[in-house]
Symmetry: C2
Subunit: 337 residues, 2 copies
């Protein structure tokens, strides 16, 4: 039986239009049933005519905006779309949730309504980064950056919990038998890093697959399958990658446009290649990050998600359900204790 | 009278050959006298014949390697090239020092031999980043990332000391009358960030030119003239920028080479443009980072520095001496207290 995916219809810069369109497209593209959670009237207006087959609406009167303080908003807005989304998973009405709204609120809703996996102190987001120039048969090869922004100021021990879970998740998401794990630091040698990194290095040394410190230049490289960091540094690194690649592409394309030269021959090939390289980091294509550490599947999509991004996020959620990811994560944490 | 610049001849992956070549070239290129500090025999062997005019050698028997623990190495290796370099500045034999070796050791030598500017707790490195697509009359427009890697685990108050100094330094280095200052965080809104950032935001609010939080995607943009962060995050961001831009360029160039297509027409223009964009972040061209907070001019060049990189670093050192940067930084810190 196809799984049911609950989608926060009101979350994201382009909600509800793009989210609703993506959810409807995902039904066939991913072979899932979807529950659109949010203001029923607004959602129905986006759909226009009759509700398509395999799409349901779950009414929720409130919305948590992008700028709201996450924990407070989740506490006070009990009838918000993202809280209701998490409750649909908690109550077994849906097998997974997808949200593109306020990331902190999505995380807080999942955490508070679904609860933590036993032995996990705080959740972390596993963000897939493409590896430069590596294309596997089934598409580009990815690396997982954990934590991409869920938990700032972690204790060193929490990084170990994330590493154990990320290893289990990498097996499924990256299809790698023995994933390697690196600690993002300011130098390769042991002893580099701030207080958090120094202690985390010692603790991670007992984790299978740990290869030691990696650096900023090892992101998007074949350096390690999983790169572990705190949510603050992970967010800065992620946005730095995004900004620099987009910035370079814009300058290159900009100049050629300025010159008015048509793209042909070598230049055409180059443009295609640039787009191909950039494609996997375009939020629409990555499929979103999986929240590790909660008792349910929660996929967090980029705030600027289009319909295509939602389809990809739903696909990740579906695959996580099929692979019974939460059970795998739970085992990984149990096994490590 | 031209200033004397002391150069650590033994520091860097390509020392002493490239460093000595760069130092000799800098004499004419920058109109300075240079003192090459290190093993006299090895330096003389690099030069070959007679010592060129305006070049002196200061013998130092020891070398601190790239992997050594900085503080311990500086304490124990009293006759190392970088320690003697710093002493040359302390003793007035040179007006500034340039080092491309172990960054931590260069910083520690400067800190221990030159001492701190009064009111400064720890030093920070100001790294120039080019702004995408912005070219001023005198070359590319830069942004300063502070701290690029000198001090991990700072107190929030230290970030304010760095901001005050960076503002004074930006006036000189960027030639901007009223530099703006952003705090690198994981979101734009006040309240974003880890504990360090939240407290630093409050304190920075009293600093002239403070524009609030900026994000990873604001690096290399016209977001703020100065971007303040701790040395750990700064190092990660810097290496992430370097890695992603080089990675993208490599993929693009790689493919075109593979195809064997000659660079011509639009593609040729594109390649030049890519190189032009990348040029300012190539370590050879940035001129190195200025160490803020010590009582002397210390310019830290990239570990992979070539002769050209050394010439650029010497130029930065010379300009800092000419602008009496240390006095400006001292005033900035005094004025803020």
């Amino acid at each position: 039986m196809p799984p049911v995916i609950a989608i926060d219809a009101m979350g994201g810069d382009r909600a509800p239009g793009e989210i609703v369109a993506g959810a409807c497209a995902a039904v066939d593209a991913c072979d899932v049933d979807v529950v659109l959670v949010g203001r029923a009237g607004e959602i129905a207006a986006c759909i226009g005519g009759e509700l398509p087959a395999r799409v349901e609406i779950l009414d929720a009167s409130d919305v948590i905006a992008m700028h709201e303080e996450p924990a407070a908003a989740v506490r006070t807005k009990k009838d918000s779309s993202i809280v209701r989304c998490a409750e649909a998973v908690r109550d077994g009405r849906a097998a997974a949730m997808v949200g593109a709204g306020n990331t902190g609120a999505t995380m807080a809703a999942a955490l508070l309504r679904l609860g933590r996996i036993q032995g996990v102190h705080r959740p972390a987001v596993a963000i897939p980064l493409p590896v430069f120039g590596e294309t596997a048969e089934r598409g580009p090869r990815f690396q997982l950056l954990v934590d991409g922004g869920a938990t700032v100021d972690p204790e060193p021990e929490w990084l170990v919990e994330w590493a154990e879970q990320a290893r289990a998740y990498a097996r499924i998401r990256l299809d790698v038998e023995q994933p390697t794990i690196g600690l993002l630091s300011n130098g390769e040698e042991q002893g580099k890093g701030d207080a958090l990194r120094k202690r985390a290095f010692e603790l991670l040394s007992d984790v299978k697959g740990f290869v030691g410190n990696v650096e900023g230049r090892d992101l998007m490289r074949r350096s390690a399958d999983v790169i572990i960091t705190d949510g603050f540094t992970g967010n800065v690194a992620l946005k730095t990658l995004e900004g620099s690649l987009m910035g370079l592409a814009a300058v290159v394309f900009g100049v050629v446009d300025e010159a008015g030269t048509p793209w042909a021959g070598a230049a055409g090939a180059l443009k295609l290649r640039l787009l191909e390289v950039a494609a996997p980091i375009v939020p629409d294509n990555t499929g979103g990050g999986m929240l590790l550490g909660v008792q349910g599947v929660c996929v967090i999509s980029h705030g600027s998600s289009s319909a295509a991004a939602i389809v990809n996020a739903v696909r990740v959620a579906r695959d996580c359900v099929a692979a019974d990811v939460v059970a795998r994560l739970t085992e990984a944490v149990e096994h490590a204790r």
